[in-house]
Symmetry: C2
Subunit: 169 residues, 2 copies
DNA sequence: GCAAATTAGTTGCTAACGAAACCAAGGTCA
DNA sequence: TGACCTTGGTTTCGTTAGCAACTAATTTGC
């Protein structure tokens, strides 16, 4: 860890912590606003939530895969995937095909109706992302991209660290 | 991002939406990981959740304010603030003082115990944020900061836009 | 001065979340 | 082969979220 000798404030009373500048807070506010903006755009029209959207998009991207693989690729807890899949299956947007070699899992894929919805939805999502990115100075975009990658990586490490230090205790 | 000319699939219907590169998705994953890393660090030791943490920090920063002001400053729905305040009050970390000029609201502030907790907590949070930022290339940090600000701004606009277009319909 | 609208904050209700228990199918190893 | 462990996926359960309805205090408009 890097030193922080540069910032040597009187520890006790000086409120060195400004919530509005605090990175985790800002990330959370940003992510919530962005998610809610996006889902406002499609939630009403297509009647799906974020987890369903992710499953749909993942299947649109890869064609056919197991629930486990969907979860791994879209960073979702298996219960979330399970419920989203059930939802989409009930609406006949995806289908399940048994894997004869391993009856625990099954292969999921989009139905024609699901593919149709995906084909409508994907460009909307892309346009939305572009509209967002337009607001960011073009010179800052690669840095943003790199930074998010690093933050994901580092916070993943920290989560693992804490989990480990707890295990050995 | 890297080019994908190699992957030239049925161009018309395949808009190449890669979830793993999709900004809203990446932001959400990032924010969730960061929040969960941070709260793992203090949740067990201090027995508070994110909303309580935010109230505590806001009061630590500003000294005395109404629930409404806390909500505005920390981007929290009033019910969240209300419940977090109730929680903290029960644990005698904050107190309520009636406003004789407007009996609907009351002024909240940290008790000595609350201040003590804040004084312990704030440096931990700051260290955590620094540890995160260390992972980001120093040259990219200002860009990250600007970008988040812009994204918050723009997505706020979009939310308002959609709400308005709905109103007039 | 008072009825109607507004505002600060709380509460009730339902949906969504994730941890943990669970179930059924596979794998391991003697 | 058969006990035991692991794994993919579902279900249960307790917690948390936010919308909407509510209460109580204040402001507005006539």
């Amino acid at each position: 860890m890097i030193d922080d000798t540069a910032e040597r404030v009187t520890a006790a009373s000086e409120p060195a912590l400004r919530l509005e500048d605090f990175l985790p807070y800002r990330l959370n506010v940003c992510s919530n606003l962005v998610s809610s903006a996006l889902s406002r755009i499609y939630a009403e029209r297509y009647r799906i939530g974020v987890p369903e959207w992710r499953v749909l998009v993942t299947l649109g991207q890869f064609g056919m895969m197991t629930a486990k693989a969907i979860g791994a690729h879209s960073c979702m807890h298996k219960t979330k995937v399970s419920r989203a899949v059930a939802q989409l299956e009930k609406r006949k947007l995806i289908t399940r095909k048994a894997n004869r070699d391993d009856m625990r899992e099954s292969f999921l894929s989009l139905t024609p109706a699901g593919r149709e919805m995906y084909d409508e939805l994907a460009p909307i999502a892309t346009r939305f992302a572009n509209r967002l990115l337009d607001s960011v100075d073009a010179a800052d975009r690669p840095a943003l991209d790199r930074a998010i990658g690093r933050l994901i990586e580092r916070s993943g490490e920290i989560v693992a660290d804490v989990a480990n230090s707890r295990r050995g205790r």
